[in-house]
Amino acid sequence: MAVTSAVRDPLITGGKTVGDVSHDISRHVENKPTRSWYLAMAISLVLFAYGLYCVCTVLWQGIGMWGLNKTVGWAWDITNFVWWVGIGHAGTLISAILLLFRQRWRMSINRAAEAMTIFAVICAATFPLIHMGRLWLGFYWALPLPNTFGSLWTNFNSPLLWDVFAISTYFTVSLVFWYIGLIPDFATIRDRAVRQGKKVRAIVYNTLSFGWQGGAKTWMRYEAVALILAGLSTPLVLSVHTIVSMDFATSVIPGWHTTIFPPYFVAGAIFSGFAMVLTLLLITRALFKLEDYITIYHIELMNIIIIVTGSIVGVAYITELFISWYSGVEYEGYAFYNRVSGPYAWSYWSMMTCNVISPQLFWIKKIRTSIVATFVLSIIVNIGMWFERFVIIVTSLHRDYVPSSWTMFHPTMYDIGEYVFTFGLFFSAFLLFAKFFPVINMAEVKSIVKSTSEGTQGTPREVDQTRH
């Protein structure tokens, strides 16, 4: 694995040794959390508690606590679901597809991205659960379980059922992939704990590492499993959002009934996923002082992916508009006319600005290598992607076929509360991860540092000069 080119920029800067890597990453697990960590955790927990109150009220009183109505049966709930699922795409893409394409720059970011994926999928899964009128039955009736109701079975025609399978498969594979990647790093922490004489930590991390000893055969199997899982995950990256898009694409509602949806949704998902990875990594990088591991080069590469996927999404938007006119279907035509100029036009134009125009700024090298600009734009992209789902769901539903039923949707504090709930959940989980798990894949990163444990090799600065 450790084949490095002398003419390429090193991916890890600062002349880090293998020992430095272990130390830099593991110390966050070993040391007491910083004050800023406590502050962030406190805020996350407050959000979580408020959200939990809203969730419980909705479960106790009924879905009527939300602003939904007879015409708009889904709004923030499914918007948030799709948004979170989309965010959950980056992790697997980075670890699986980029692994298969041997993009080694992914090594610094894949751990955090995968963790983010898992937490995002958990957050996403809360919405289809809470949005059910009868969660207490729905959570198991939606599964094809044997039952005493005779031949009563789930409806395999329903895209919602496909969602159940798609999301649960994706979650399982992502979780296994992520965990297997963590095993050697857990062993590293254990070894350090043994050396430091921390018995409890040693036992805990030994258990977490399944007693990893680092034998050559173990490593061989480990890498084989990683490749197999990468192979398994790759189609999932494409399938999950394809299936989520089919919730809409297979329906008859103008604005939903669109064959373009699967690729458009997958591109959008990667787009938003990368934006979220950037948001989180930029914070983690600053907080944990990981500038040498997550370099400007990483950020730039991710920004390039954002330009590409953002442009795909933009093309999709324009294609939709064109087809709505070109098809000559008055309902389709009106649905898009209404998106562009109706009462929810502000959300359409927010979406267009955030998703189509703003990522184009990354064509300028100065912007795509600027930490501040990247951070701001990554948040804007995520806002835009939220609006995309809101536009698709709400503006299509609120004025569909029969004009007598046209309504508006107004969110209540409980709609907002549910969203806040998932933020609380997500950030609490991410902070716990950052504290107790190594945020960067030490084992993999060690394979790309231009050094050995014996001493520094190569002189990165010279390479720099030859290149420029």
Binding site: G138, D247, Y401, P403
Partner: protein, 1033 residues
């Protein structure tokens, strides 16, 4: 031990062997322990705790008490779970309907029309359908009261009789105040009372008076009556502000007759032409072919204009005071051309206007053809002059005793406030209403002798001369009420005061003559049929003796168009307000405004420019009429004549009950006398829009159909007649590979062979041409299917639960591709009503998307909903193109939050109205129209018991049964002889598989809503045909 000399002491006390020690020597404890010492021992504590825990857990485990009491001895006629039907009569003031009451285990739960009656002909309206819930109104009186305190009937009778005798002894005046009384027996009771107390006068009034018409008829044709009209014989109908489908005259009968003239088919390609001249957009105006906006002050002038045009043709002198308005000349021409088949009616309560109308009808030869003065209608016998005299007498203290016979004039008479003042000092006041209403509340010392609800009582009625009907109790009186007639008889000193006997005797004396059967058989037959009708006597021909010149002068002097003008009207929901406490009516969307639970003033868009009326957000307006100011929210109403506002009566109740109290303002006191009768309009009023914001609850906020042809298809009569309308008829077609010009119906392209309907295939036809939008079907559906009522706040959140709604669309003046412009209704729009319910699609979008298969397709074509299986993802509702699915956002039953708005599911009394055949849906599940599957099931079981097939017409949905115009036809499409199959000309799409789902309708007017998405509904709509000149369309 034996040898041991040692003695062991327990202590020094034993050694001393003191008396103290000896006393307790054998006790377990030498010293008294805490058990004996204290009042409460440890054991007591444990006992108490044990009991407490047990009691607390028992209390926690206590199951709610359900009073399901089986019959110990089964009543003869009652089979548990099988309904019984009784013919009866709905009487509410002057409102009448011959009905059939469905009872289950002794509880009336549903009302249908009685087809045997030739007055109402099986028709009902929303008020009648809703009245079954009024029976279970929690604000009903539980028993008699005197001066606000409970009292025995015997005590009440003795006190009332003493007072009456005291008044009679000194010759004091007694008045009986009632609405129009339809019952001849009740009138006979009053006569008995008057015989006993000769100073008694009986005064009738109506909530909305027709006194002007009666007076005009007295002058014009010599009889002070309200005649029968026969709209079915009219080719040309001109109505000047008469809302004859909703509030004017015999509305159910009018609707029936009108529908006959509006019905078109391949065999009858003609229909009436209907002109309407009005200020508000009424239900009648919404159904007109030509509608002209006028001001209320112009009604007389329009009548004169029509008179003059016709008079010049008839060779009679013209009169002065006419006015040019669009369509007036055209209407007059057509009236003249259709002499003998024409009818002009006017809503005005002014005898002068009505005299002109009578003169027009006389010239047109309407008397004897479309107007039948030989069959007077008794709905409106009110006498404004007599009532005014009563009020002045009462104020002057000339009246000693007054009996409000089921009337509530303090609320619904313009001089109600003066009556209330007079009642404070009156010697004797009695009210017999079944509820304590404003009038009873206004008199501090009033005796309240509550009458039964009409479903609990015996009665008879004569809605039209010679047409009689009977009321019979369908439930034992729930409370300690007593028939008002019986009360009067008791107070009149009758020994046999049983009103049932009284009615029966009357019928024996009046009607049982020259019968070939014995009286009991005759009586049983009348009771079974609910009606008894005598042959029509006399002819309708009259000689016109009215003075049109005097009438024209009176019109000229009484009406001047000044400033803003107001029209008071009964809307299509609470009507005159007598049933305002019925939540079924409060939550029934008004046919025109689609507003619920709210009072409003209808204002034209021109006069409410500062109100966008987006999402029903509006402002209060301050309206000053005759010095009285009221504040009501503005409802921006297309079609309203600019410069006029409409103010519905029936709101502003203060003593009706929790449902109605506090909604809006009472408009009755704003009505004033003009030309000797009450005038339901006023000029020169002050109208100002204030800055106070409000949101009206409306079930439909988008007014236009956006020119969506696949939703609403309409054509004009001549296009229908020559068949050219089919060219405009939207039919999706696609090209095929065969050749570039080959097109075919995409519905025929399917890989899937569809459902097989081997036995039945239920279907429905809805005729947009005969649907008047009245809303009776909506209430009928609510009652039949236990549909939850959710209240104003939830309707504002757009969550009404109605399974069946009537979409009301206005036309727009914008070009078909101007989507922005199409969102706004025209100033004087054409209106179309479209009943919308689950379409029971054969390719149902809802069925495929449910993850748990909770909504599935039946073997009989129904799209069925398994509530128990539903997990509430709402995907089905999102994917329903017709948006007819309704979600239970909250628990609407047994929930204090909905107690006041949905008493039928939240109070013990209200729950008696529920249909036991239909499940109450729980929170979190989806529901929708089932095509009344419980009725289908009952019909099939009945047929099976009798070993035969279900007969056509045996199974009807509640909506179809309630539709007075026959616009909704339901039946088995697999039966080629069924009405629906014949109407739609059903033919199997694949002749080799006649029972397959794919049926095609050959009725040229039939279309499926949103045909191009290929949902293949089992409901066909019949294109609306307007009788307009095509070039103008």
């Amino acid at each position: 031990m034996k040898d041991s000399k040692k003695v062991y002491w327990k202590g020094i006390e034993q050694l001393k062997n003191s008396s103290e020690f000896v006393k307790n020597a054998n006790a377990e404890f030498a010293q008294p322990g805490p058990e004996e010492d204290l009042g409460h021992s440890r054991r007591d504590f444990l006992k108490m705790m044990g009991f407490g825990v047990a009691a607390a857990s028992l209390a926690a485990c206590e199951a709610p008490i359900r009073k399901a009491i089986p019959y110990v001895q089964k009543p003869v006629d009652v089979e548990p779970s099988l309904p019984n039907y009784y013919a009866s009569t709905y009487i509410n003031g002057g409102d009448y309907c011959s009905i059939v009451v469905k009872t289950r285990e002794g509880r009336p739960i549903k009302i249908d029309g009685n087809a045997l009656s030739s007055v109402t002909q099986g028709g009902v309206n929303a008020q009648v359908e809703a009245s079954v819930l009024s029976l279970y109104d929690n604000s009903r009186l539980r028993g008699p009261k005197a001066a606000g305190k409970k009292i025995d009937w015997a005590d009440l009778d003795s006190q009332v009789i003493a007072k009456l005798n005291e008044i009679a002894g000194k010759g004091g005046q007694i008045r009986i105040i009632s609405y129009s009384i339809l019952s001849p027996s009740t009138k006979a009771v009053i006569e008995r009372f008057k015989t006993k107390y000769p100073t008694t006068q009986h005064i009738q009034y109506d909530q909305t008076s027709h006194y002007g018409i009666v007076k005009a008829n007295e002058e014009s044709i010599g009889s002070a009556i309200f005649p029968s009209y026969d709209f079915s014989k009219a080719n040309t109908i001109v109505s000047i502000a008469a809302d004859f489908l909703n509030s004017w005259g015999s509305t159910i009968e009018n609707t029936k007759q009108y529908a006959k003239t509006r019905d078109v088919s391949d065999d009858k390609k003609v229909m009436s032409r209907h002109y309407q001249f009005e200020s508000i957009l009424s239900i009648t105006g919404a159904n007109a072919d030509y509608r002209t906006q006028i001001k209320p002050s112009e009604e007389g002038a329009v009548a004169i204009q029509i008179y003059n045009t016709i008079a010049s043709k008839a060779g009679r002198p013209t009169i002065s005071g006419g006015i040019e308005k669009p369509n007036v000349a055209k209407a007059a021409e057509e009236l003249w051309a259709n002499r003998g088949k024409a009818l002009v009616v006017a809503g005005s309560n002014d005898k002068s206007v009505q005299t002109i109308i009578n003169a027009i009808n006389d010239m047109l030869g309407s008397y004897g053809t479309t107007i039948l003065p030989n069959i007077p209608v008794n709905f409106k016998q009110g006498n404004d002059a007599a009532m005014a005299a009563f009020v002045s007498d009462l104020k002057a203290g000339k009246i000693e005793g007054v009996i409000f016979l089921n009337s509530n004039p303090v609320y619904d008479h313009p001089m109600g406030q003066e009556i209330a003042e007079g009642l404070k000092t009156i010697n004797l006041s009695i009210a017999t209403g079944y509820k304590e209403e404003e009038t009873a509340a206004a008199a501090p010392s009033i005796f309240i002798a509550p009458d039964h609800h009409y479903l609990e009582s015996w009665n008879d009625a004569e809605p039209k001369r010679g047409f009689y009907s009977l009321s019979q109790p369908t439930i034992t009186p729930i409370f300690k009420s007593r028939a008002a007639q019986e009360s009067l008889l008791i107070w009149a000193g009758e020994t046999n005061a049983d009103y049932f006997e009284f009615v029966k005797n009357n019928w024996r004396n009046w009607f049982y003559t020259n019968q070939s059967m014995d009286f009991q058989t005759f009586w049983d037959k009348c009771l079974y049929d609910g009606i008894y009708e005598q042959p029509i006597q006399g002819s309708g021909s009259v000689s016109f003796t009215g003075d049109v010149n005097a009438a024209a002068r009176a019109i000229a002097s009484n009406y001047k168009s000044e400033g803003f003008e107001v029209v008071f009207f009964e809307n299509g929901t609470v009507g005159n307000g007598s049933q305002a406490n019925n939540p079924l009516l409060q939550e029934l969307p008004d046919p025109i405004t689609k507003a619920v639970w709210d009072h409003y003033a209808t204002v034209s868009p021109k006069d409410a420019k500062e109100i966008s009326f987006d999402e029903s957000f509006t402002k209060f307006a301050s309206i000053t009429i005759n010095g009285k100011t009221v504040k009501v929210p503005v409802l921006v109403q297309p079609g309203q004549t600019p410069g006029t506002i409409g103010l519905p009566v029936g709101y502003g109740r203060t003593k009706a009950g929790k449902v109605a109290d506090g909604i809006g303002v009472n408009a009755y006191p704003l009505v004033a006398m003009v030309n000797g009768s009450l005038s339901y309009s006023a000029t020169n009023i002050k109208f100002e829009i204030t800055s106070e914001n409000y949101q009206i609850a409306q079930t439909q906020t988008h007014e236009t159909h956006m020119n969506r042809q696949t939703v609403i298809q309409e054509t004009t009569l001549d296009k229908y007649q020559d068949g050219s309308f089919k060219e405009d008829h939207y039919q999706p077609m696609i090209n095929t590979w065969k050749d570039p010009d080959h097109k075919m119906d995409p519905e025929k392209l399917s890989l899937w062979k569809g459902h097989d309907y081997k036995k039945h295939h239920w279907g429905m036809a809805i005729d947009l041409n005969t649907c008047t939008g009245c809303g009776a079907c909506v209430v009928a559906c609510n009652v039949e299917n236990n549909v939850s009522l959710v209240g104003r706040d939830e309707v504002i959140k757009r969550r009404e639960m109605h399974w069946l709604r009537i979409d009301r669309y206005y036309s727009s003046d914008a070009a078909p591709d101007d989507w922005k412009g199409l969102e706004d209704a025209a100033e004087n729009p054409e209106v179309v009503f479209q009943p919308m319910l689950c379409q029971h699609c054969n390719n149902a979008p809802c069925e495929t998307v449910c993850p748990v298969a909770a909504t599935t397709h039946s073997t009989e074509g129904l799209n069925q909903m398994a509530y128990n299986r539903c997990i509430g993802t709402r995907y089905c509702a999102n994917n329903c193109p017709y948006k007819v699915r309704r979600f239970n956002w909250f628990k609407y039953h047994d929930n204090k939050q909905f107690q006041d708005v949905n008493p039928a599911m939240n109070t013990d009394l209200g729950k008696m109205v529920l249909n036991p055949d239909v499940t109450i849906r729980s929170r979190g599940v989806m529901e929708k129209c089932t095509f009344c599957v419980q009725r289908i099931q009952a019909g099939k079981l009945n047929a099976k018991k009798e070993r035969r097939d279900v007969r056509d017409g045996e199974v009807v949905t509640a909506c179809s049964a309630a539709c007075s115009t026959g616009a909704i036809v339901f039946g088995d499409m697999n039966d080629p002889e069924s009405k629906v199959a014949k109407l739609l000309k059903i033919r199997p799409l694949y002749p080799e598989r006649p029972l397959i789902n794919d049926k095609e309708s050959d009725n040229p007017r039939a279309y499926s809503v949103l045909e191009e998405i290929n949902t293949r509904p089992n409901i066909w709509y019949l294109t609306k045909v307007r009788n307009k000149d095509t070039n103008k369309a």
